[in-house]
């Protein structure tokens, strides 16, 4: 059939010459430009039009110039584009986070040459893709404005050449290298080579919080002067004597991964490991325990001895407290029942305790199953006695040269004054610190080291598992890796990279093996068979008698502990970590004295069981200040009442009170508690059995992000918010939670009382509303959070900050409830207020399908996507905050001030925007921003977007490959960061996705928070199941 031809005019039909000319000259009239420039424009041919044109232009120009002045920021394209950099496309490089002894294999996301995000490396056999808050935050340290930018001699800038010359001239006497634990095999060789050149020199490993008693005990009982490789995943019974292994003890990322394996539940055949925890001050690990018992720190030895006695068939003696005694019996029972799958760990730095723990582990068959003596955990190697000797030597003047690598004893040594005095007697002092820290400031030579993201290197956290470090950015400043310096000073001509490469190329079979290893970031080795080690009980009897005869503590005892975010002070200058709410206390930007509710009653006259007093304590940020005196040294800090702390024990976090030189974030934050530690025997003890505490009557504001911690009120227990039960209850009645849900929803459905539970749950969506229910074809994003796996560590929170450019607001703003976190981890207590059950609940935007925020926005700035996302359009938002008010989860965050410098008002970052926040807007710091995510300006609401930028990227990837989306295409930041894989995310409409599987596999534990509101949230939670004492349950049922 002939193609029909349409025409508009006869000209077109006939293709006349005139028509074709017209088409060619579409704009027939000449544009009326000024014809003759010499004439005044009013005399030209078209002055009127020109006049209007000029008026229009000049008005617009004036308006632009006068009102909309925006700083011009130029983006300069590559003149010669590097082959592997495509603007807008991220590259990922495997590398390794190394902070002192801590090692985590990671992948750095690099956008346009800038590392902007750290992700876990799934290939690592140790951490298996897990990260921690500190790992996530480490990328910000790269862009820290307080980093040293050049080498200095006596504080004056020099070149590295000049520094090398001066160092060579000054080096003399006995040379001592003091480092924090080094896990790098090549670095150890570099140091050995260097030391070989200087006779009489030595290497001392110094850990701010040392594990030296553990090493000493292992030497005594197993002949191994190191820490073995622990395997919590093989343990059915875990007993911890104050070891915070999920938060700060040894390798928390690896341990969290292992621990979660035993905590995840198969609904059809429920079983889980049993974790019994003994501690004095509430910790992250204690909060996750199935059973937790409180004791005084001075009783640790007695408890260990009693436990040893109990597991070896004896009786529990020397423990007067009935609950504690029962706890030891329970622990012994659990350990004995699970012989060969049991593990005991202790956080104490008392060698007797550690020897007894080794004996218990030997008795319950931990060796070869949960403890592998064939491999070493290399993350801590410091021996306090060696450092004590060094300080003596320094003070005696027998040290000629001191080289500091990573160690900062002037801050963290309990006798900092002794160290500083000794340092003054050392002729040549050299520091490789990246910042002018407390020790570097006292050193003559400071040759700043690279950040790990600028470095080459390797790390062997667990023997046989090597992880590689490769630079992801050219060094930002005139810095040099310390290994390079040592190589140079030992006369080695090759640089560290060449050294490293040749070291590994030989081992890995040439360049190909080296390249592969770098690409993977880790060396895949087949794990050797576990070794049970050889246990010698020779030292045990003495240890037991020493432990049981330990002197009784005074009225109040003290525990110094590390915080998950700040550690021993390494995180103090990182604003993300300072603003990360501590998982246990929910406090930011300070350290404080943790007191128990019982002590608060007598000391502070605050009774948390008294509604009025509890309210007054909660709603007012200023907290009472107490003065703690330890052996003549005293410290004044605010007190926080933290349930789950022993009534006669207080806790203070170390890592605070850092020098202002290390960054604005550390300046004036908290006080240094390291001075309260003391040397007990060979080791530094972080507990003290007799301290004085008095209330000063003053108050000091503490920035808490959560003020209320219980979900039961006088008007009813808010089980709609949180659901938890014990394993015994669950086994006894698996559908308990499902029934509870149905009961909550039944009343909302007309005729609901006639429906059974399943019908109620199914019909709720349609029956609870007057609106029609729509199909949701295509993708439907959904998330599930397993409260059993979540330990509350906070890695996800920092990951979210980094991924989504979440503003830091500083302490004054957190105090006013202005923190911006898109994801928070709520911490609830239930049960006995003195030793409560604790449950953590990560809470982000629930992406409700019937979102209450959406319909109240007058300008439709927040709306629902066809894929189930609750979207936020910043440009559209006028900031009425109605959405935030109407959000039952209170996850929406408002930009109260110009935190980011992103709005067009000049000079308005004053008042509430403090120095830390301003510094986040520094050109250097801003390099950490994710270019895929808008930096929000003042006056708009923001909230979790389910990492929509990642979802888009994942969808595009699938689309380019012409295949349906798969789980591997999309991993949201919190999910990626989680060391316990508590978060599952994906397309809930797909039959094969992990999220669908989780929901189908866990029908009995799934619940939605506040489901009865009919907001139809998109995030499922799996109820917390606690493997606590079963007898208790039976009593309750009876």
């Amino acid at each position: 059939m002939e193609q029909k031809k349409y025409w508009q005019s006869f000209g077109e039909k006939n293709q006349s010459a005139a028509y074709n000319q017209d088409v060619k000259d579409e704009f027939k009239e000449e544009l009326p430009f000024v014809e003759d420039e010499s004439k005044s424009f009013l005399e030209t041919a078209a002055p009127r039009r020109d006049f209007l044109k000029y008026v229009g232009f000049s008005t617009a120009a004036a308006a632009v110039a006068a009102s909309c002045e925006m700083p011009i920021k130029k983006a300069i394209p590559f003149a010669n584009k590097p082959e592997d950099i495509v603007p807008g496309i991220a590259n990922y490089y495997a590398t390794t986070y190394v902070q002192d002894g801590d090692v985590v294999s990671v992948v750095a996301k690099v956008r346009d040459g800038r590392p902007i995000k750290i992700e876990g490396n799934d290939l690592s056999p140790v951490t298996k893709g897990g990260t921690s808050a500190r790992v996530q935050a480490s990328v910000l340290d790269l862009y820290d404005t307080a980093r040293l930018r050049f080498p200095t001699i006596d504080g004056k800038e020099v070149t590295f050449e000049a520094a090398d010359k001066a160092v060579a001239a000054a080096m003399g006497g006995n040379v001592v290298v003091v480092s924090s634990t080094i896990t790098s095999p090549t670095s150890k060789e570099v140091i050995a080579q260097f030391l070989a050149k200087y006779p009489g020199s030595k290497h001392v490993t110094y850990d701010a919080v040392s594990y030296s008693a553990l090493i000493e005990a292992n030497t005594a009982t197993n002949g191994v002067a190191a820490i073995p490789d622990y395997h919590f995943e093989n343990a059915k019974a875990i007993v911890s004597l104050g070891a915070d292994f999920l938060g700060t003890w040894l390798s928390p990322v690896a341990f969290s991964k292992q621990y979660a394996a035993g905590k995840k539940i198969n609904e059809k055949n429920p079983s889980m490991s049993k974790h019994i925890h003994f501690e004095s001050v509430a910790s992250l690990t204690g909060s996750n325990a199935d059973e937790k018992y409180l004791h005084r720190p001075s009783e640790t030895g007695a408890i260990a001895a009693a436990l040893l006695s109990a597991v070896t068939g004896g009786s529990v003696t020397g423990i007067s407290d009935a609950t504690l005694k029962a706890g030891i019996q329970n622990a012994a029972k659990a350990l004995v029942e699970n012989k060969g799958a049991a593990l005991v760990v202790a956080g104490s730095n008392d060698v007797n305790v550690q020897i007894i723990v080794n004996a218990i582990n030997n008795a319950v068959g931990a060796g070869g199953s949960t403890i592998n003596w064939a491999a070493r955990n290399n993350t801590r190697a410091g021996v306090d006695a060696n450092f004590v000797q060094l300080v003596k030597d320094m003070n005696a003047g027998s040290v000629g040269t001191l080289i500091l690598v990573g160690a900062n004893p002037a801050y963290s040594w309990h006798d900092a004054a002794g160290f500083t005095a000794g340092l003054a007697k050392v002729k040549t002092t050299i520091s490789f610190a990246t910042k002018q820290d407390e020790t570097a400031v006292l050193c003559k030579f400071v040759l700043p080291d690279h950040h790990y993201l600028e470095s080459w290197g390797d790390a062997e956290a667990i023997s046989g598992n090597v992880s590689f470090i490769q630079p992801t950015i050219y060094p930002l400043f005139k810095t040099r890796q310390w290994q390079d310096s040592l190589l140079k000073w030992s006369g080695n001509t090759s640089d560290y990279l060449a050294y490293l490469k040749s070291y590994w190329s030989t081992k890995l079979g040439g360049d190909a093996g080296w390249d592969k290893a770098l690409q993977d970031g880790v060396l895949a080795t087949t794990p050797a068979a576990f070794s049970a080690g050889s246990f010698s009980s020779a030292a045990v009897a003495n240890a037991v008698s020493a432990a049981t005869s330990a002197k009784k503590g005074g009225a109040i005892e003290l525990v110094l502990y590390e915080k998950v975010g700040i550690g021993a002070g390494q995180g103090a200058s990182n604003p993300w970590l300072q603003e990360l709410p501590d998982p246990v206390t929910r406090a930011t930007w300070d350290n404080y004295v943790i007191v128990s509710p019982a002590l608060a009653r007598t000391l502070l006259k605050i009774d948390l069981n008294n509604g009025g007093q509890a309210d007054a304590y909660e709603v007012n940020p200023p907290k009472p200040v107490v003065k703690v005196t330890v052996g003549g040294k005293s410290i004044e800090l605010p007190a926080l009442i933290i349930p789950g702390t022993h009534p006669e024990t207080i806790g203070i976090a170390v890592g605070y009170g850092r020098s202002e030189n290390i960054g604005k974030a550390a300046n004036g934050v908290g006080k240094n508690a390291f001075a309260l530690a003391s040397l007990q025997g060979n080791n530094v003890s972080f507990t003290n059995s007799s301290v004085e505490i008095v209330a000063t009557g003053e108050k000091y504001p503490v920035a808490l992000t959560q003020t209320h911690s219980r979900y039961d009120t006088a008007q009813g227990n808010r089980t709609e918010v949180m659901k938890e039960l014990t394993l015994a209850e669950y086994k006894h009645h698996p559908t308990e939670i499902r029934e509870e849900r149905a009961d909550e929803l039944r009343g909302q459905i007309s005729g609901g009382e006639k429906l059974n539970d399943e019908e109620v749950l199914q019909k709720f969506e349609g029956a609870g509303t007057i609106y029609p229910v729509y199909d949701r074809p295509g993708i439907k994003w959904g998330m599930s959070v397993d409260l059993n796996a979540c330990t509350g560590c906070g890695a996800c929170v920092v990951a979210c900050n980094a991924e989504n450019n979440v503003s830091v607001v500083g302490k004054p703003e957190v105090l006013r409830g202005h923190e911006m976190h898109w994801l928070r981890i709520d911490r609830y207590y239930s049960g006995d207020m003195d030793n409560p059950n604790v449950v953590f609940q990560p809470l982000m935007c629930q992406h409700c399908d019937n979102a209450p925020c959406e319909n109240v926005c007058p300008v439709a700035a927040t709306n629902h996507s066809s894929e189930g996302l609750n979207q936020m359009t910043y440009n559209r938002c006028i900031g009425t905050r109605y959405c935030a008010n109407n959000c039952p989860y209170k996850v929406r965050r408002f930009n109260w001030a110009d935190y980011t410098g992103a709005d067009s008002f000049g000079d308005n970052q004053t008042g509430h925007v403090n120095d830390v926040v301003l510094n986040m807007g520094d050109d250097l710091t801003r390099m950490v921003l994710n270019p895929d995510v808008t930096v929000r300006s003042r006056g708009v609401i923001e909230k979790c977007s389910f990492c929509v930028q990642r979802l888009q990227e994942g969808k595009l990837k699938a689309k380019k490959d012409s295949r349906p989306l798969e789980d591997t295409d999309v991993k949201v930041a919190c999910q990626q960061a989680c060391p316990t894989e508590a978060i599952t995310f994906g397309n809930a409409n797909s039959k094969h996705s992990a999220i669908t599987k989780v929901r189908l596999d866990n029908p009995n534990r799934s619940f939605y928070v506040l489901e009865q509101l009919h907001v139809l949230p998109g995030v499922t939670y799996l109820a917390k199941v606690r493997n606590s004492d079963e007898k208790e349950v039976e009593e309750k049922k009876a």
Binding site: V619, T707, H708, R718, P888, G911, V1015
Partner: protein, 481 residues
């Protein structure tokens, strides 16, 4: 003779044997005289407050809402409390002008002009809060549904905040028209008495060429009726819609079906209290005791005790439902966050109860109703109470809602938050002082309607006429012409 009929039940609406000329004289005198020293003092205080408010708002717009102490949990505080409070006050004017006009309540003429002015100014003050509580006030025009070039985005007609935009702007427009149309004949009166060219020009312009012809009066009265008819539903709708801001939400303490009638009653309650405050000052300062009589005050006090009791019942109903629903979240909000005196904000709830429910009960006594000092004091108390009511609703509901993890620290305002509120007082009184100086504060034309039937002067004249012999009467009348 029906003209002789004298009601013993009602006291006269205007006392003091006024005739028409005197009425005009009394009311226009303050406009033509120099302002008193008191006026200057009051005016400058008002302007000073206004300027402080302007500075407070300037800070908030420049530095952000962080100048206020609102937080992640309490997203609205003094801002919306003040908004609802001012809108509520703005209710009495229209109620008096429109509903009482339709109900033929003659006493309204003494107070309607000032009450309407108060409405206009109160709504102007109210409007500042929803505008300046926006984080990006320079984008406020996004709420207007006009064809624009900003792509497919349009306002969200589901949002109660958008309903507010329409409700408030409609109410303001209609109230303004109503008020102004009533002013036209009075402006003409002032124009006719003008002693300077400028006054003549300005009042001439303002009176739209009013000549007082019958046709003018006829149209004027029709217009008044039409506007009264239009305004009547607005009296009910505006605060109903304002209450929807809360009632349509999911927050315990807000999500309540009782809100519309309860809010309207509360609005009338506070509006009448504010009229009392102002009229007691005006009658004293401008010596208008003859026009705003104790009868007026008593009538308004009756409205106050009625509406106060209605809100009291609403409060008790809420408490009852908080228990009866067995909803633990509502139970907590109503019985702990509010009604428990020792909870952090318990004081505000009981302050509200004392001011709004308990204290107005004294108006059951006629003696109290007719006591000017008691009335003045009570009118202030009621407005404090009604401010507490809005504060209680907004803050005690928000600060502890569903998730205990999100419960807020104690919210108290910053100086700039209070400054904004003070600034609206400045705006209100600046406007009111100008109004009192340049506008007839009592509707001259309208009060003359009620003069005839109630004035003692009229009665006296009539008895004199009746006492006259017929011849004298005829002579008198013809002589007049």
């Amino acid at each position: 003779m029906h003209l002789k009929y004298e009601s013993q039940l009602r006291e006269p609406l205007v006392s003091g044997n006024k005739n028409y000329r005197q009425v005009t004289e009394d009311i226009v005198r303050p406009i033509e005289a120099k302002p008193t020293r008191l006026w200057y003092v009051g005016f400058f205080i008002a302007v000073a407050l206004l300027l402080f408010g302007v500075y407070s708002v300037y800070r908030e717009v420049t530095y952000g809402i962080g100048e206020w102490n609102l937080n992640k949990t309490v997203g609205w505080g003094w801002d919306i409390t003040n908004f609802v409070w001012w809108v509520g006050i703005g209710h009495a004017g229209t109620l008096i002008s429109a509903i009482l006009l339709l109900f033929r309540q003659g006493w309204r003429t003494g107070v309607n002009r000032a009450a309407e002015a108060m409405t206009i100014f109160a709504v102007m003050c109210a409007g500042q809060f929803p505008i300046f509580h926006m984080g990006r006030v320079w984008m406020a025009f996004f709420v207007l549904p006009y064809p624009n070039t900003r792509g497919p985005l349009w306002v969200n007609f589901n949002s109660p905040l958008l309903w507010d935009v329409f409700a408030i702007s409609t109410y303001f427009t209609v109230s303004l028209l109503f008020w102004y149309s009533g002013l036209i004949p009075d402006f003409a009166t002032v124009r006719d008495r003008a002693f300077t060219k400028l006054r003549k020009r300005l009042y001439g312009l303002a009176s739209f060429g009013w000549t007082g012809s019958t046709k003018h009066w006829q149209r004027h009265e029709s217009l008044s009726l039409v506007l009264a008819g239009l305004s009547t539903p607005l009296v009910l709708s505006v605060h109903t819609i304002v209450s929807f801001d809360f009632a349509t939400s999911v927050i315990p303490g807000w999500h309540t079906t009782i809100f519309p009638p309860y809010f309207v009653a509360g609005a009338i309650f506070s509006g009448f209290a504010m009229v009392q405050t102002l009229m007691i000052i005006v009658r004293k300062v401008f010596a208008m005791e003859d026009y705003v009589t104790l009868g007026h005050i008593e009538a308004m006090n009756k409205v106050i005790v009625l509406t106060g009791s209605i809100v009291g019942i609403a409060y008790l109903t809420e408490l009852f439902m908080g228990w009866y629903s067995q909803n633990k979240f509502e139970g907590y909000t109503f019985w702990y966050s509010r009604a428990y005196l020792f909870s952090p904000y318990g004081w505000s709830y009981w302050g509200m109860m004392a001011c709004n429910v308990l204290s107005p009960q004294i108006f059951w006594s006629r003696k109290m109703r007719r006591n000017v000092f008691v009335t003045f004091f009570m009118s202030i108390i009621v407005n404090i109470g009604m401010w507490f009511e809005r504060f209680v609703i907004i803050v005690t509901s928000l600060y502890r809602d569903y998730l205990p993890s999100s419960w807020s620290v104690y919210y108290s305002p910053t100086i700039w938050e209070m400054g904004f509120y003070a600034g609206t007082f400045g705006l209100f009184f600046t406007c009111f002082f100008l109004f009192a100086k340049y506008f007839p504060v009592i509707a001259i034309a309208e009060i003359k309607y009620v003069l005839k039937t109630t004035g003692d002067g009229y009665k006296d004249q009539m008895s004199a006429i009746e006492a006259q012999p017929l011849e004298a009467f005829v002579k008198d009348q013809t002589h007049h012409h």
